[in-house]
Symmetry: C2
Subunit: 215 residues, 2 copies
Amino acid sequence: MTTEPLSRARIVAAAIDLIEREGADAVSMRRIAADLGVGVMSLYNHVPNKDALLNGVAEAVLSEIEFTDDPDAHWTDRVRMQARAFRQIAHDHPRSTMLVVSRQLHSNAGLLPVERALATLRSAGFDGIDAVRVLRLFIAFIVGSLLREVGVTPTFAPVHTKMINAEEVDPALFPEVSALSSLLGSCDHEAEFEFGVELLIQAIAVHPSRREGTR
Amino acid sequence: MTTEPLSRARIVAAAIDLIEREGADAVSMRRIAADLGVGVMSLYNHVPNKDALLNGVAEAVLSEIEFTDDPDAHWTDRVRMQARAFRQIAHDHPRSTMLVVSRQLHSNAGLLPVERALATLRSAGFDGIDAVRVLRLFIAFIVGSLLREVGVTPTFAPVHTKMINAEEVDPALFPEVSALSSLLGSCDHEAEFEFGVELLIQAIAVHPSRREGTR
DNA sequence: GGCTTGCACGTACGCTGTACGTCCGTCAAT
DNA sequence: ATTGACGGACGTACAGCGTACGTGCAAGCC
């Protein structure tokens, strides 16, 4: 049995595995080394430090986004698809996604999605300033959504425990919360996300800064 | 000099101070104890563990939100005000805000903003389901915005270092990013936030699920 | 007085990230 | 064939972490 030599890619892969299995808190250099059957300090031959390793994880996850962008499709469909593609990584790597959204990358790994999005928005009739504006709006919404979606349930199980316990809410103090506690307690993330995306698309479609008549 | 007795409130306050001064990474039980001039383990008489302490920090920050909600105002103004009030905590406690948004609370401390928001949306003509939907949309946007706003620059300095280095971007690979690099490199968070809020308000104002004619 | 209770504290254990030195296999130059 | 350089794997060591546990002291109650 020839043991494959250690490499940055293998280390990052082991880190992602560990994060998905036991959560980001379980990540330690010692633990990753143990999982790889390797000495702790050997990792430092391929990764400068833990922070860089986590950046590597974020890059790897981000670069897995699959864009099947069809330049001939209507721009609303392209936006929809890109938003969904972004959200898809939350399903493939739920716990690693927290790393991606809570850590901004200084590398170019996250640039491809930005490029695609800007091109789409430009083709939709926005000038540079507004394309960036709208992109940031979408990113804020998507990141916020993923944070709720992944943060609420580390296990990412389809059925969620309630975050609001109906019995503990005083109806006199919080009448609305109390009345809607069953709705607040459960959340169909998929539907919630689609609702937001459609509303945003609708909103920017009629936005005055967009030039009409473009694909 | 009579030293004021230790208390959960003093510990939480010291933690917030420390977070704002040196960042969340600097927080340790030992460090907080040292700042309070107290033994490490004395903290555990008032706080069960570090996680609960951080929850306390999040609660304290969240409960500082000032709502000057005028029930007679137009619902669009009320929504605007509440969104801004939420964002205001990011200016008062920038680094602690990261804790608030990246940690969901199981306590009732965060319930008052939810109650206010739901009441406003109900008065705007949304039924329960849609009020929750719209609230979640707003929360996602606000949380995502704050994450960018605070996460990008831990120091929260008014002027930001560029996240995208124009020279490092290959114009052939990323034409849009390259062309818009100056716009992408700087961000007027205030304007960006207002743009998003106005667009969202506009979008939900014309949403078909809203009953018209309400205040 | 005696007794309970609560709080401040010191010690100790098993973790963490990582700086540093060592050892060994490979390969180029002599 | 010998030597030397070099890169990678590794062990040790250190400072710092959260916190379980035991101890001692002061106040309140009988």
